[in-house]
Amino acid sequence: MIFTSFTYLIFLLVVVVGFWLIRKNQLRNVFLLGASYLFYGWVHPWFCILIAVSTSVDYVCALAMRSHPQRRQLWLVASVLMNLGMLGVFKYFGFFAESWEAALGALGFATSPIELRIFLPVGISFYTFQSLSYTIDVYRGILEPRRRFVAFALFVSCFPQLVAGPIERARNLLPQIETPRHWRAEFFHSAWPLILRGYVKKLLVADNVATYVDQIFALQAPSAPLLMVGGFAFAIQIYADFSGYTDIARGSARLLGLHLSENFRAPYSAISPSDFWRRWHISFSSWITDYLYIPLGGSRVRGAHRQFGVLLLTMGLSGLWHGAAWNFVIWGVFHALLLFAYRSLGLGAEWRPEGPLRRGVAWCVMFTATVIGWIIFRAPSLAWLVGVSGNFGWEIGPDSSLVLLVLLLLILFYSSPLLVLDWLGRLDIEKHRVLRATLVGVAVVALAIFARESAQDFIYFQF
């Protein structure tokens, strides 16, 4: 079930009403768990088996760590192996098999193709990471293992954030699930603007800009300027798409009295790679920092080579998390190089250039690098990326200048709601209620005219 479907709106209404009609918190959690499994198994009911297995194993492992503290490392390994094993089989098997065959082929060995047609379960990367963070936190002694299975299962599968995050930490979400909540009008008042904002971002901006992105990236030999416009458009699309999803998720959760983490903080205003990763997909980047980068030594590692190695491994795996394809890995490596280059120049996380000119230049450089990164990310295949990289054409013919201008105007037109939303974010909207009502009216009219009838899937669903 996707957030932009009419089915979801009906589902959300029924769940919210049903949830608040139930008095006992434990019963509410059982109800919400059932609703979450219904949401997840709507198209492919067998997906529920996977999430149930992952939940059960992590539940048992965490309890076993407490009852057998001397063997807690063993239980942690079991949990990690199960979660990463599931990811490996369902998400990466085909990728590794193909890469293995290609490598053997390149070395002159004849191979027979390994065929295993596995359907990628939606959101598997998100919930395995979320569940894994629980067992790791229990292992580290930061978190008490939970005895109530329903509360833990709901933490793993709670439907608003199940398929595309935010990747919640148990210490944030579990206490909210366990604490009895009472309906407050504030839940509704804080939820609907988030949900509307999410629909505007997804249906007005992301889906419309996607049309131009798809056309540009379907060309086998786009010129460099056209490719940069494509990258710029994709930067807008992926931000509107993913942050729109997060807004709807957070709004839906608010209706249930839950508070999900922020996932984006104006990412394209970043002036350095470290700054970017503090603003983009925050729940994922903080997960990677806490459970991979810091355990590998983080910024405490001595020596440039080692530091680069840690960054390369962390960001390469981050790229691979996004998808089982080499262009995602290269995208991760590209960001590792950026991070390393900035750090080598002494431009770390706390760097703030002085003066508007310097800040402007820093922003331009970082935004251009981000767009180049998105081109790598969006490339239809590695072969396409290699072909395009070796064949750049910078000439702008009379046609091309007009086409570039047309595309830029259309992209800016469809992305203008993002600017309005950004401006609104800086206003104290409670003081401008008529303005808010006017903008809500404009948003509804714009959705009626410009929302596409067949909404595209959210980009991050495939991860």
Binding site: F6, T211, A218, D399, L402, L409, A437, V445, A448
Partner: protein, 343 residues
């Protein structure tokens, strides 16, 4: 009080837009829809009885030169087409216009592409409703219902029926996009109408990887739409067969050739379409209706197409004789050329 003011503001904005936008002059002009989508269904059957009827979508209207076809076959011919039409529209036209014609035609050729014979409608939402309503007869209301059931967005169908802003949304969107394109052309010193052509030249080139584009843009049809047995009973091919049989109209199904750069072999779902076509051929054979496959015709080249799968004048000059020749063996069932067909 504050809440009332906010509500009034919201209703005012939506009401004003609903009233003002759909009456913009350019939008109230005859729609492209009327000429491009509604097509040639209103052809006067009674005043100009035809011996041969060609039924299909826009690629038929762009692909056949009527005068040339009539002179080659010596048969008075009518073309009935609607842009982006599929089995529901073809069925309704066949039942309500062709089978009702007096005298009835001696041959109907239904020209289709790929799996369109078992698609309810290519259009979705209000456009699909409008296209079908133009050819509905009493008792046909369930046809619209069946088509809309398979529509991708029943919400838009509902809203389109009750909210003029949604009903005219495609025209409004076109208006905004056209204005932006004109602005871009003017700013860059080009003629106002040149933007579309420039964009088409950039993106319609041979280098486009259609399979990638289809998948990326979500244009790949749901695999279930290539499941012939499933779609057969959801759509209107059996109804077309039934009407043709009950009204004793000889009927031939002709698969059209798509532009080589968009032909199925370059697109996604090649295998699915192959399996589908075998099932369609078997079905029509069982039903006793011939299927002519002109999709493999080598004489039609990319240069014979103007845009998309629509042919240019040169393409029409090549395709019209091909079609006339392909239908030739079914012509003898008619009377002497020029004579009214026997019932």
């Amino acid at each position: 009080m504050r809440a009332t003011l906010q509500l009034a503001t919201f209703v005012g904005v939506v009401g004003l837009a609903t009233w003002a936008l759909p009456v913009i002059e350019e939008i109230t002009q005859p729609l492209d829809y009327e000429s491009e989508v509604a097509g040639g269904w209103s052809w006067r059957m009674e005043q100009d009885p035809a011996e041969v009827i060609l039924l299909g979508d826009s690629i038929l209207s762009w692909g056949v030169d009527l005068e040339q076809f009539e002179s080659l076959t010596g048969r008075n011919t009518g073309i009935l087409w609607a842009g982006a039409s599929a089995s529901a529209w073809w069925y309704l036209v066949l039942k309500n216009f062709v089978a009702e014609a007096e005298p009835p035609p001696g041959l109907v050729a239904l020209l289709f592409r790929d799996n369109f014979l078992t698609l309810g409608s290519v259009l979705v939402g209000p456009q699909a409703v409008r296209q079908l309503e133009a050819v509905l007869d009493e008792g046909d209301e369930q046809v619209t219902g069946r088509v809309l059931k398979s529509s991708r967005s029943p919400v838009f169908v509902f809203l389109g029926r009750h909210w003029s802003l949604v009903d005219r949304r495609s025209e409004l969107r076109d208006l905004f996009e056209r204005s932006l394109k004109k602005t871009a052309a003017l700013v860059s010193g080009h003629p106002p109408e040149s933007a579309d052509e420039a964009v088409a030249r950039t993106f319609d080139g041979d280098e486009k990887d259609l399979a990638v584009l289809d998948r990326a843009a979500g244009l790949v049809m749901d695999d279930r739409l290539f499941d012939f047995d499933r779609m057969l009973h959801l759509t209107f091919l059996p109804d077309i067969i039934r009407v043709a049989r009950s009204s004793e109209i000889p009927m031939v199904f002709v698969r059209m050739k798509r532009a080589p750069r968009s032909e199925p072999s370059r697109r996604a779902q090649v295998a699915e379409l192959d399996v589908y076509m075998r099932a369609l051929r078997n079905y029509l054979e069982d039903q006793g209706f011939p299927l002519l496959d002109l999709s493999v015709e080598d004489r039609l080249q990319q240069s014979h197409y103007s845009h998309g799968d629509h042919m240019n004048a040169e393409g029409r000059a090549v395709f019209t004789p091909l079609l006339a020749a392909a239908l030739e063996e079914y012509m003898p069932q008619l009377g002497a050329p020029g004579a009214a067909p026997s019932p």
